[in-house]
């Protein structure tokens, strides 16, 4: 039960949203949207440039009663947000990190595509496949 979202600055509109399962999707969307504020807060809290992956990975943003939200931001200020069900205790921090890494890698692959304009919604099938496989792994 997981969502991956990519949002790009400055407007922070989502480039990509995917969730499994699909019920309560709107709630997840909303959660992601609100957690963007938390992300921004964390970013502005660190004044210096983010070159360290530790800082790129923002960690547990906002634990609520039902789920946890994790954040990750790239150098170009593209944010990845992941919402995970709290009941899924099998997910450790390392796994979340590795999932973000994979997301980041796939995102750079998309960037390499000259037909992709940064800021467009992401329609890449390779990216979809990667996200799907990742989510299947978790659930």
């Amino acid at each position: 039960i997981l969502i991956g979202v990519t949002c790009s600055p400055p407007q922070n509109y989502p480039l990509y949203i995917r969730s499994v399962p699909t019920e309560n999707e709107l709630k997840f969307h909303y959660t992601v949207h609100t957690s963007l504020d938390v992300v921004d807060e964390k970013i502005s809290a660190m004044g210096k440039a983010l070159v360290d992956q530790r800082e790129l990975y923002l960690g547990l943003l906002y634990p609520t009663e039902d789920y946890k939200v994790y954040g990750y931001v790239t150098n170009s200020k593209v944010k990845f947000v992941m919402v995970v069900d709290s009941s899924n205790t099998a997910l450790r921090d390392n796994e979340i990190r590795s999932m973000f890494r994979k997301l980041h890698n796939s995102y750079t692959d998309i960037m390499c595509n000259p037909f992709y304009n940064p800021g467009d919604r992401i329609h890449s099938r390779a990216f979809d496949n990667m996200v799907n496989s990742m989510m299947m792994q978790v659930c």
């Binding site: 890698n105 960037m111 390499c112």
Partner: protein, 439 residues
């Protein structure tokens, strides 16, 4: 049947007539009346018993019709309507049974295999592609089992030769267009030459890359919609470096051509468009690449293949350890059908085409399994991101294994290149002070 399918009228069995005839044969064998309307039914495939020795039916009937379906799109696109629907009936590999009766026309020998044989299990050794493309007469390497002799009985043989003539006539003119795809995912010689010339016009050095922006401008001229071009790029740029090498470019161009001719883009890159395959084929038309046949359909798009295709300049089968590696990694049952004769025959003149040395490649191959799965250190990410969106320079060969760490660190710190290899940071003593990444 001959009359109904129109062969009498036009005087020969063109592909359209031939396919209708086969359908009618199937209809007749199923008990339907021989009429044009009968072919609209969902028919089982016709049985041609007289074609071989009495005992064996060489052509699995499925193969025939399936082969028919295959050929239709290639030969006559307008027949798509009923042909395409049947195409999905049997997904079996076809191997071209070229009958020696039908000697090949001047067209290139790249049509060995039945098109669309990728993705299909290769266990159908008995199958031969009969009619459809007599011009695809293959030399004996492809005869699967047993009798390579004319596959048809007398009548079909006659039909075959007439077909051959008519089809070769068609093919000649189609060949000249240089955009005709017989097997949609296999590049003919003319096409290859055309692509190479186009590549040259964009980038005079055939061993070098075409940058992303140049390629984008070029392919945008094809007037395909951007999402499709984007997908084509995704498929063809297997190492995802934002630039196209010659094989990648050929694959991309070929996909554009196919798309413009009405074919749907595949989800993953077909085997025949893989860079190693194209690299190999560029020097010598490869009949059966058992090595590449072992790539399952799902793999091309996957990371594994990407890893292996990183050194697209060096065809994998050249280096024995690489081929062993690849075969081990990707081995499945698909070997059976393809006769891997040509594999061994790839001349060493390949080497001169390669940019990266074999040594590098083997290093890379070792390093590759790690390359993407461990995803990079932060600095690599930083560099990666720092170079988006302008087209990043072509990535250097991933020749770094754990041992050769120190230089790489310096390179990273100088921030000269966006290296996307995902090798783990070297052991601490050699490491310049860099924030350590927790894996």
């Amino acid at each position: 049947i001959t009359e109904v399918c129109g062969a009498k009228r036009v005087g020969y069995f063109g592909p359209a007539q031939f396919y209708i005839a086969l359908k009618l044969i199937a209809a007749a064998q199923s008990g339907f009346p021989v009429r044009i309307e009968s072919i609209k039914n969902e028919l089982p495939l016709p049985q041609f018993m007289a074609l071989k020795n009495d005992s064996e039916v060489r052509y699995g009937p499925p193969a025939e019709l399936h082969g028919v379906k295959f050929q239709v799109p290639h030969a006559t696109l307008e027949k798509n309507s009923y042909k395409r629907t049947d195409e999905e009936d049997k997904q079996e590999p076809k191997s071209p049974p070229m009958s020696p009766i039908c000697s090949p026309p001047a067209s290139p020998s790249t049509y060995q295999r039945i098109p669309l044989s990728y993705g299909y299990g290769n266990s159908r050794s008995g199958l031969e592609q009969q009619h459809g493309a007599p011009y695809e007469v293959r030399h004996s390497t492809h005869q699967q089992d047993g009798p390579s002799s004319g596959n048809y009985g007398a009548k079909p043989a006659v039909a075959c030769s007439t077909l051959n003539r008519s089809l070769s006539a068609e093919r000649e003119q189609q060949d000249s267009s240089a955009h005709y795809v017989d097997d949609p995912w296999r590049i003919t010689e003319e096409q290859r030459d055309y692509y190479i010339n186009q590549f040259r016009s964009l980038q005079p050095d055939l061993n070098s890359f075409i940058s992303g922006s140049v390629a984008k401008n070029f392919f945008t001229k094809s007037k395909l919609p951007i999402p499709e071009l984007s997908h084509i790029w995704e498929l063809s740029d297997v190492d995802c470096d934002g630039a196209l090498t010659l094989p990648e470019f050929c694959a991309a161009f070929h996909l554009v051509v196919a798309r413009k001719n009405g074919y749907q883009l595949p989800e993953t890159l077909p085997e025949t468009l893989l860079p190693e395959y194209l690299q190999a084929a560029s020097l010598k038309p490869i009949r059966d690449c058992a090595l590449f046949d072992s790539y399952s359909e799902s793999l091309p798009g996957s990371q594994q293949t990407r890893d292996f295709s990183r050194t697209e300049k060096v065809s994998a089968e050249e280096v024995p350890d690489n081929s062993a590696l690849l075969q081990d990694a990707k081995k499945d049952d698909k070997q059976a059908l393809k006769v891997n004769v040509a594999l061994k025959m790839i001349p060493k003149e390949f080497q001169h085409l390669t940019v990266k040395t074999a040594a590098q490649e083997s290093n890379a191959l070792k390093a590759r399994p790690r390359s993407r799965s461990y995803s990079s250190t932060s600095i690599e990410d930083a560099m990666k991101k720092g170079e988006e969106p302008p087209t990043p320079p072509p990535r250097p060969q991933k020749s770094h294994s754990r041992a050769s760490s120190l230089d790489l660190n310096k390179i990273f710190q100088q921030n000269t290149q966006a290296v996307r290899s995902g090798w783990l940071p070297p052991p601490p003593p050699a490491l310049p002070p860099r924030p350590s990444v927790s894996q």
